[in-house]
Structure formats: C-alpha cells, structure tokens
C-alpha cells in the first residue's frame, strides 16, 4: 500500500498536466504545419483546383458561313427556328417532364430517341433539344403551360438551309450530326477546342471540303457553377466569330437550267469557264434534298435515297467513269497533228469498216463516209478514220498525249469523291491485271481506243476540263467551285485559284484546225440539229458510249432494256472565237449523243451566253439519229 502526501500528489499531477500541455502544443503545431503547407506552399495548386471547380466554359456556337453563287445568290444559309429544350439538371425527372410535354406538344418516339442519345453524350448543365422547328402555334401553346415545366425552355437555334432544295445538291453537299469519322477529321486539324458544343459537320460536297472555313470560331461563356452543376452567373464572354462565306464560280440559275434540261434522265454536266477553270455548273442527276440531312435524316427517306436504282446519292460528275465515245476524237486528231502522223488535208478512204488482225471494226455509217479528211472525220464522226489513226499512233503515244489533257487523272476539284477513271496504256494494263497473259497489250486493243471505247473511262469533269483546256488553247486550270472565301469579320476576300495549272505546248494552227472542225460539227455535222439557229458560233462534239456489247448484232435502241442503252455524250464550247464556257454533258443510257446530250448543252449555252430561258417543254427527243 502506497500513501501519498498532498504535495507529492500535486506535483505528480502537475507533471502530468505539463506533459499533456506539451502534447497539446505539439499537436497544434502539427496542425499549423499542415495548414501552412496547404495554404502557403500548395496554395497555387488548390487555387487552380477551386477555379476548375467553379468555372465552366460553355461554348457559344458561331453562325456557319454562307454559300453564295457567283452573283451573290444564297445557296446555303442559316435560319433561326424555335426548339424546345430541356436542361436535365433543372428539370428533375426528365422522363416525367417529357411525358408532360407530350400532352401539350407533339413529341414523336424518334424525338425521344434522339433526346436520349443527346443526354448520354452531354454534360448536365447543357440544354438539349427535345423538339426542333416548332410552329408559332406550338410555341404559344408551350408558353401557356411553361410554369408546369421547370428546366424546359424555348430557344432560338440556327439551322442550315439549302433554299434550292435538290438543285446543286451534289455540289453543296450537306451537314449532319458529328460522327466518329468527323471527330477524326477534327482531331487531325487539332480543332477540338473550336468544336466544343458543335453538333454538325459537313458530310459531303463543299460543306465537307470547306468545313473548317465555314464553321467559324466558337465563342465561350465563362460560367460560375455550383456543386450541383447549375450555372450561377456569367463571368465573362468571348463572342463567337461567324464562319467564312464561300462565293462560288457557279451560276445558280445556270445550274438550275442545266438540271431542268435533264428532265428525269440520269446523267451529269460540268460547265467550266475556260479562262479561269471556274466551274459554272456541276450537275449530277438525279439529285437529293440536302435539307433532309440537317436534322438527322429519318430512316424512310434514307432508305429510299439509298435503295433507289437511280442512285441519287452518287455524284456522277466526279465519281462516274464513262467511255468518252466519239468526244475523244478531236483529241485523237490533235495528237495526230502534234505528233505528225497526219496533216489536216491528208485523206483516207472509209469503206464502212476497218480490218485489223482478222477482226472487222465497223463504222457507224453503213457503206462508210468515203473520202475523209480530218475536218470531215470530226464533223461526221467517222470511226474508220480513227481506227486507222489509233493503229498508226500506237497506244503509248495516245496515252502520253491524252494525259496532258488530264484524262485518267483526278482533276483536283474542290469537293471530294473524285474517281481517276482509266487512261489505258501498256503500263496501265500491267498494273491492272495480275496474270501475265492479261497484262500484255494487244495491238488490236488500240483500235477502238481511238473512238473512245475499249478500256477508256473518264469522269464527266475530266471531259469538261479537257474541252475547256482545248478551248483555252492549251492553258489548263484546275477546275474549282469556290471563287473566293470571305472573312465575315474583316470583309477580306481570298481568291482560291488564279494561276493556270500548266500550258500544254500546242501549235496554234493545229488548235485552229481542231476548233474549226468542232465548229463544223455544230454547223453542219452531228450537232447541227441541236444548234440550229443559234445566235452564236459554238464548237461541239457528240459521243455515244457503248454500255452493252452486241455480239455481231446490230444495236437497236428499241430492243435493248433502258439501263443497257448507250450513254449519250456531248462536249462543247462557245463562243468559238473567245470561249466563255466549255462543258461536257453525259446522259446515262440516253442513246445517241446528238439526240439526248446536245440539246441539253444548247439550253445551257443559250442561257449562259444570251440569257435565254428554255421553253417549258422538255428537251426534244424526236430527232432522227444522224450518226453519232
């Protein structure tokens, strides 16, 4: 048993108390050190994190640039429409809110589906559209019931609109909701920050090619948000910058005239200003309505566009490769002159066919054209003349010469989806085929190349570029659709193309010979009927490209099903002395070029040169074949 005296006990207690006091001081010092560390050393780091917590950048979308034709006619614009939008963070039960809204305003299952998808992709302080393009009546209806729907608002948003609907659809293209493919393109351009909040992206045509010009600069609103993600107030605002406007070389009215000239036939037309390479019209028929895509195309429309045998989504002017038929002959003749295999006056006798290696190549005209010089060979489109010429030139000479005019090469036009086509040569064949016996070029294969058949396959835009280059005396331009890009802020216009691609060295007298022959075609040859009474002098050449190979039988239009009929072609330029326009027309399965394609060219030239509107009647189809 231990007895303690009070003094000892008090002393012991005070020691313990002192120990505890020291412990308290130590603990408080530890706390102070922690606070010092956080508030002094780590201050910057935590300050930044606090800012990140509270500040959110809300993108403000820029207006997309306009697309204007060469005369300032608007071909793609934006219009403001009312959308019904829900801010999920403020709306509470979103499903219930939508059910409630459906009693006031029509909301279809597809609207719900789209909203659901948007909801999954979005941040919760954004407002998302449940319905777009509300009518005034619907807006009024909603406003009357607005008090019932917290977090639901009417907002004005901009939509893309193509006022000419189907006209120039392949050229303009369309925009649609951004997909993974588009995101890759954005990433490639390092443009992700500028695309925050952007919902649409150019999918085809100019909308795709010039996406980054048209888009504009996204503005930002610095918003203070609370822990629940609700915007409390706006701190600062960087306004968006409207996208650049595109002014095209295209003449919207000419484009429409050309499209109407096709009626309901399939085909393509490319018209170029020879002195600049600017595309005046680029037609691919049938077209489609790009407005359908802006909001997300519905499956019914999509199926009908995709499954149509007429393939309206294919841009035939760039993507389709067709045998040029007789439109190839002027270039063959020019090659002969340049290489020195023929003179203009030199004649051949055409008995109606040409035999080579035991194979008989028929001329289109029974009994033949008789004595034929170069002028007549073009004006009357004599096949025999070119069978012989092909043989004399040889395939590689032909290929070398034709490649200068751009045949078999992408033109580099400023929309995507161009095909190369086929400019046949020995080298091409070697690359094209695998088996050695197929890789060899047979001399007999050269014969039909001269009349634009055989392996020949070119896109309508290549044909147009070639005739424009010929019309421009060999000075060649890259065909292009955009004339200049205008910065909407500064008003500064940047021209797209001013310099020619190259100048093909051609003797002026040779060019003169060919041009005169082409003028002859429209005056007294295969194009004469289509150009009867024209108030200007034009050059042209008809062509018919075989789709269906008839074995020994005489081709007869009536007996062949429509899609196996020949393609009709026509190339032209006018006025002959100083060409302002050159074009190539292709009518798929149209039959003879003179009959189906030349009248379309006539309407286009009449309008462009004279401002003459075509009569409402569809293009004449009654003319008798005059040989191709």
């Amino acid at each position: 048993m231990e007895f303690k005296n009070p003094e000892q006990e008090i002393e012991g207690f005070q020691h313990r108390l002192a120990f505890a006091g020291a412990f308290v001081l130590l603990a408080f010092f530890l706390l102070f050190a922690r606070l010092f560390w956080l508030q002094i050393f780590q201050h910057e780091y935590y300050r930044t994190r606090a800012e990140e917590n509270r500040i959110s950048l809300v993108p403000i979308l820029p207006n997309r640039g306009l697309i204007l034709d060469r005369n300032g006619v608007v071909m793609a614009r934006n219009y403001s429409a009312y959308t019904l939008e829900i801010t999920p963070s403020r709306a509470g039960n979103v499903e219930a809110a939508i059910d409630g809204l459906a009693q006031v305003i029509e909301i279809q299952p597809k609207d719900r589906k789209r909203f659901k998808k948007l909801l999954e992709e979005s941040k919760n302080f954004e407002s998302l559209p449940i319905r777009t393009r509300l009518s005034d009546e619907e807006v009024a209806k909603f406003i009357a019931h607005r008090y019932r729907f917290p977090g639901v608002d009417i907002k004005a948003r901009l939509f893309r609109q193509y006022p000419y609907n189907e006209s120039a659809s392949h050229l303009l293209g369309y925009i649609g909701r951004i997909n993974d493919n588009d995101l890759d393109r954005i990433e490639e351009k390092d443009a992700e920050p500028n695309y925050r909040g952007t919902e649409h992206f150019g999918k085809t045509g100019l909308e795709l090619k010039y996406e980054f010009d048209l888009h504009g600069q996204t503005g930002f609103e610095k918003v203070e948000i609370d822990a629940g993600g609700r915007a409390v107030r706006v701190l600062s605002r960087i306004p968006p910058v409207t996208g650049n406007n595109l002014t095209l070389t295209v003449d919207a009215k000419l484009q429409q005239i050309a499209e109407q000239a096709f009626g309901n036939r399939r085909g393509a037309l490319v018209a170029i200003e020879p002195s600049t390479g600017g595309i005046l019209a680029l037609v691919s028929m049938p077209g489609f309505d790009p407005n359908l895509f802006v909001d997300g195309i519905d499956s019914q429309n999509w199926d009908s566009l995709n499954n149509s045998p007429d393939k309206p989504m294919v841009n035939r002017a760039l993507n389709g490769a067709y045998p040029p038929g007789s439109t190839f002959k002027p270039y063959m003749a020019l090659a002969a002159l340049e290489i020195g295999k023929r003179t203009a006056q030199q004649t051949i006798f055409d008995p109606g066919s040409y035999s080579f290696g035991g194979h008989v190549f028929h001329d289109d005209k029974k009994g033949g054209h008789g004595t034929v010089d170069m002028y007549k060979s073009i004006v009357q489109s004599c096949d025999t003349y070119y069978y012989m010429l092909s043989n004399d030139l040889g395939i590689d000479n032909i290929a070398n010469f034709m490649s200068k005019f751009g045949f078999g090469q992408k033109t580099g036009v400023d929309i995507e989806g161009e095909s190369e086509g086929v400019l046949p040569s020995q080298e091409w064949k070697k690359k094209r085929f695998k088996k050695p016996e197929q890789q060899r070029w047979y001399a007999g294969e050269t014969i039909s190349i001269g009349i634009g058949q055989g392996y020949n396959a070119y896109t309508p835009i290549q044909l147009a570029q070639a005739i424009a280059t010929l019309a421009n005396d060999g000075v060649m331009f890259r065909p292009h659709i955009v004339k200049y890009i205008t910065d909407t802020r500064t008003g500064k216009a940047t021209p797209i193309e001013t310099q020619p691609l190259r100048t093909i060295p051609l003797k002026p007298q040779h060019l003169e010979t060919i041009k005169q022959a082409l003028v002859g075609v429209n005056k007294e040859g295969t194009g004469a009927r289509a150009f009867a009474g024209a108030e200007y002098v034009s050059g042209g050449k008809t062509g018919t490209a075989q789709v269906y190979s008839l074995k020994g039988e005489k081709y007869s239009e009536g007996h062949v099903v429509e899609h196996l009929r020949d393609h009709a072609l026509f190339i032209a330029f006018a006025p002959a002395d100083q060409p302002k326009i050159a074009l190539a027309v292709l009518v798929e399965n149209g039959g003879f070029g003179a009959q189906a394609a030349a009248p379309i060219a006539r309407q286009v030239l009449d309008y462009y040169l004279l401002g003459k509107q075509p009569k409402t009647a569809a293009p004449a189809d009654s003319a008798e074949p005059e040989g191709d």
């Binding site: 303690k4 006990e9 505890a20 308290v24 408080f28 606070l35 508030q39 800012e51 917590n53």
Partner: protein
C-alpha cells in the same frame, strides 16, 4: 446602484479570461456561420444563449455538489445507453437517439461530461491508495459506455468519451509502464481492430490515405475541404467570397466542415487565429486544473480542458485531411445546440472549480 449589485451577483462566478475567450470564439463562429449558412444565424444565436445560461448556472454549483451528481449521472447515462441499444430510433443507419415521447435525446452526449465526472469522483474516493486495481476498475467504468456508443455506431462521440475518461486516468497517475504497455498493445491490436471495423469505417481510413482514389465518392468531402483550405491562401478569399463554400462544394459546411469555410474565407491568418484562441482557452483551463484544490477538481478540470483540445484537434485534423473523417464538430464554431451546450457545461464546471478553489481550502 441596485442594478450594479445585481450585475455583480450575476457575474460573480464567471471567470473573465475563459469568458472572454469563449465570447471571441462565439463571435468568430457567428461571422463564419453568417457566411456559410446565414439562414441558421438566428437559431444558433438562440443555441448560444441557452449554452451560456447553462454555463452560468453550472458555474454557480460548487464542486462538492457536482460530486453528488457524478454517480447518478453516470448510472443514469449508462442505463439510457442500454435503452438506446434496445429501443433506440434508427436514423441514417445508426441507433443514437432515444424517443422519450415528448423529446428525443442522445444519451451518448451526456457521457461526455458524466464520464470525467464519474472517474474523477471515483479517483477522489480512492485518493489515498491508488493501485492497479483501481485503474482496472476505472478502465471498466470507461470502456463499458464507450463500447455501447461505438456500437451505435457513433465513432466520434465514442472517441470523445474514451478520451475524456482516459485523460482522467492519465492525470490520476497511471504508471508510464502501463501506458507504454497500452500503446504497444494498441499497435499490436490494430490489425484485429481493422477486421472488426465496419466497411464505412475502413473506407474513411483508406480515404484519408488516398482521397483521390475515389474523388466523387468517399474522397469527395476530404478533397473539397482540402481544396477550400488550400485555396484560401494567407489572407483568404474574404468573408462570403469563398467559392468552395458559397457554391456548396464543401459538404456539411455549417457543421462538421465549417473549419474549411473559415480557412477558405479567412486564410492562414484566420485559421491560425482560431488555433491561438483554442490554445489560450486550453491554457486557461490547464491553469485552473493546476490550481484546483482537490483531486476531483484537478482531474475534472484537466480532463475537460483536454476534451476541448480533442474536439478541436480531431475536427481540424479531419477537415484538413490528416485524420480520418469522424463526426466531431468544431468546438464553439460548428452549428448545433447539443455540442455547444455540452461545451459550455464544461466551461461552467471549469469556472466553478476556479471560483470555489479558495472556499475548499478554507
């Protein structure tokens, strides 16, 4: 003159230094609260008045009288804890409340004062011969209610009650050898304790070690309060200007995490000022304990003082991310009437001990 006499009579048992420090702390509390949750200002003002009244009344009661309360208060509290375990109301997954029909009480709160009172009383009774046996009994007196509280579960209160009792035993002179043994065995028992802990308790400890592992879940509170403190810097963002506080990133910003609001808006200056105020208050308490006339009053005063420290340290440690999250409010500052009343009950006891020190000796 009568008014003056009345005032003197009213102020007589009040210790000016303790009173001054308490009032400064309360003023600070009102300032922070008016920024964190101004709508609760009136209610807290009322709580403060009630707490001060309790303090004044307690200060009047002599330590001898307090001794009479010790055993009944403890036994009553213990019975209520048992009753809670048997019939208590469950709220937020814990059984802490007892519904008496006309009011709901939280008996564990009583233990914060009843425990040191009881142990101090026990040691006073066995003042002349304190052997290991007495310490073992004291340990049993301590651990039984702590176990009941911890089982509710209410880790925060259990820690405070455990600390309060431990301080009495420590100050009573538990030998250093036993203390060292306790520390060693506590370390050895840690793995066992880990296996006995509930998942959410384990989670709190894991969260402390790496809050960023689960930034939106368990770590959210700690991350946000640490950001608030750190972003305050030296001078703070200014009253009402704390973005973490005003935009509700700080959880429980008017109760357990109010220190984050204070540190964000008043910076290192403000948080250090608070530390100094606590240190002064604790220092005054220790002075009172050191000068207390009897073992009972010494132990009681020392324990109560150290409880203030425990409150403050555990809360600030938790909010600044060096201790796990346990539900302990910031003393004098956090919103809420219960803990404030308990704290001022303690202040009142300290004042009473100080006031009556001479009387006992006489």
């Amino acid at each position: 003159m009568q008014l003056r006499a009345l005032w003197q009579k009213f102020a007589a048992p009040i210790d000016p230094p303790l009173m001054t420090m308490s009032l400064i702390l309360l003023g600070f509390a009102l300032l922070v609260l008016s920024s964190a949750a101004s709508e609760r200002l009136g209610a807290q003002l009322f709580n403060m008045l009630v707490a001060l009244l309790v303090m004044r009344v307690t200060a009047q009661i002599s330590p001898q009288k307090l001794m009479y309360f010790a055993l009944p208060l403890f036994v009553g509290g213990l019975l209520l804890l048992v009753a809670v375990a048997l019939f208590g109301d469950v709220s937020k997954g814990a059984r802490r409340w007892l519904n008496l029909g006309f009011m709901r009480i939280q008996p564990s709160e009583i233990m914060k004062i009843a425990m040191p009172l009881m142990l101090a009383w026990y040691f006073q009774r066995h003042e002349t011969y304190l052997r290991l046996r007495e310490y073992v009994v004291a340990a049993l007196i301590l651990l039984l209610p702590v176990a009941l509280i911890a089982k509710q579960p209410d880790l925060g209160t259990a820690i405070l009650v455990l600390a309060a009792g431990f301080y009495v035993i420590f100050l009573a002179g538990l030998s250093w050898k036993v203390l060292a043994g306790l520390v060693v065995s506590a370390v050895a028992m840690a793995p066992l304790a880990w296996t006995m802990m509930r998942d959410y308790q384990k989670g709190r400890i894991l969260t402390l070690l790496d809050p960023e592992a689960d930034p939106l879940g368990k770590g959210f509170h700690i991350i946000q309060s640490t950001i608030a403190i750190g972003s305050g810097g030296i001078l703070g963002k200014g009253w009402g200007q704390g973005t973490q506080a005003q935009l509700e990133f700080i959880p429980e910003r008017h109760t357990d995490f109010i220190f984050a609001v204070l540190s964000e808006e008043f910076g290192l200056i403000g948080s250090t000022l608070l530390l100094v105020l606590y240190a002064l208050l604790i220092g005054r308490g220790m002075m009172i304990a050191a000068n207390a006339p009897t073992l009972f009053t010494r132990l009681l005063a020392g324990s109560i003082t150290l409880i203030f420290f425990t409150y403050a340290f555990v809360n600030m440690g938790m909010v600044s991310g060096i201790l796990p999250v346990v539900g302990i409010p910031l003393p004098f500052v956090s919103y809420g009437g219960t803990s404030l009343t308990t704290l001022f009950l303690g202040i009142g006891i300290l004042m009473s001990i100080h006031k009556h020190r001479m009387l006992v000796q006489k």
